[in-house]
Symmetry: C2
Amino acid sequence: VKPPQQARSQKTLERLLDAAEELISQKASTALTVSEIVGRAGSSVGAFYARFPDKEALLATLHTRSCGEALATAEVALEPQRWQGANLARVVSDVVRFTARMCEDRLGLLVAFVGHAAMDSSFAERRTRLEVGIAELFQRLLVIRRHEVTHPDLDLAAAVAIRMVLSVLEYGAVMNRGLEAPNLTAERTIAELVFAVTRYLGVEPRQK
Amino acid sequence: VKPPQQARSQKTLERLLDAAEELISQKASTALTVSEIVGRAGSSVGAFYARFPDKEALLATLHTRSCGEALATAEVALEPQRWQGANLARVVSDVVRFTARMCEDRLGLLVAFVGHAAMDSSFAERRTRLEVGIAELFQRLLVIRRHEVTHPDLDLAAAVAIRMVLSVLEYGAVMNRGLEAPNLTAERTIAELVFAVTRYLGVEPRQK
DNA sequence: TGTACATCAGTGAACGCGCGTTCACTGATGTAC
DNA sequence: TGTACATCAGTGAACGCGCGTTCACTGATGTAC
């Protein structure tokens, strides 16, 4: 990806990325054409290829940007200060619910990136790095509350807890658009996932 | 999909499906061409289009066949008789490990079908139906061992347990080819997943 | 049992559409003197 | 401050490749009498 030299082309680059993101969000599909993107961005194919070597590069750049935003969001959401005085059950519950809302809001992007991860493993790698980053943030919260956790390995526990939450919610969002499994609504899944994670970490759940 | 009228064309149909499955397994990619498939099957494009209205139909048929095989495998694996005398901790452990091996062995197919599910929601629906079927089978094992389970709703517990296992293992297989998260090898993930599911169901895990 | 005919099955060259990419050109911005 | 020149940025028609799909034809199988 060729870096822009003037503010003007920087704007164009952002318009292209934004247009691609909007189209993907709407269509929830991996099938985007360059003409569609430049049309929506009010740009042109030539301008496109002045920035990106090919179409894939745009999607990779968009994915990198999205993962960056997601990590930034996670950093804010998992800031230790935000959770002062909250017990771990509360933290887990809120974090799972927050993640679920994110998956819902960004369903189109999520579906498209999962599709690309299946075809191009560099998307899968970026996704893995994001997960590792989030797990580290979560671990900080666990360490502060280590007396509430019976799991002996906080590093491992954080990684597995985040893996479970992200896998169930992301994969569920992709696989359950359209047909929802009977007896397993989104809301029930979330509640049970919260319960499962708290039990896994060894926290006594709030009621029951 | 036009049903074959002679044994000859039935053979051709199966050769086409097998060829597609082999190619997908090898390339672990959604990008298959019709010429590749018929070349590998020792058939021809005309024969292909005599059976299938278009390329998508072949992949849908292949997916249906794979899901059917997977459900049949699950039926055998979760047969109550097979597990007579085994406690639930043993069942969970073996089932998770068995599922993990399946995901590993059929990684190519899994990746391709996840990719298709992202583009075509009918793949996602078939996948959801398979999950529901497996959950029902697992529920039978839970019901037999209901005294070992503290979770109050066996139907829900089975659905969520299966959702967790399949999500973590399938999504993990797709996202972790190439880059494995540090501190979270495949083997550790499996062990922790077994632990998490047993805790979720309310079984006391074997040691600890 | 043999011949004629109908239908099923298979072949692969040719077609054509769609989409990614190129490129010759115009316009905008920055810089030197 | 103004003019000349260089580079950056943007335009969109045209190209061409790849791949899905069609179709006119050949071969195989089944059926009627």
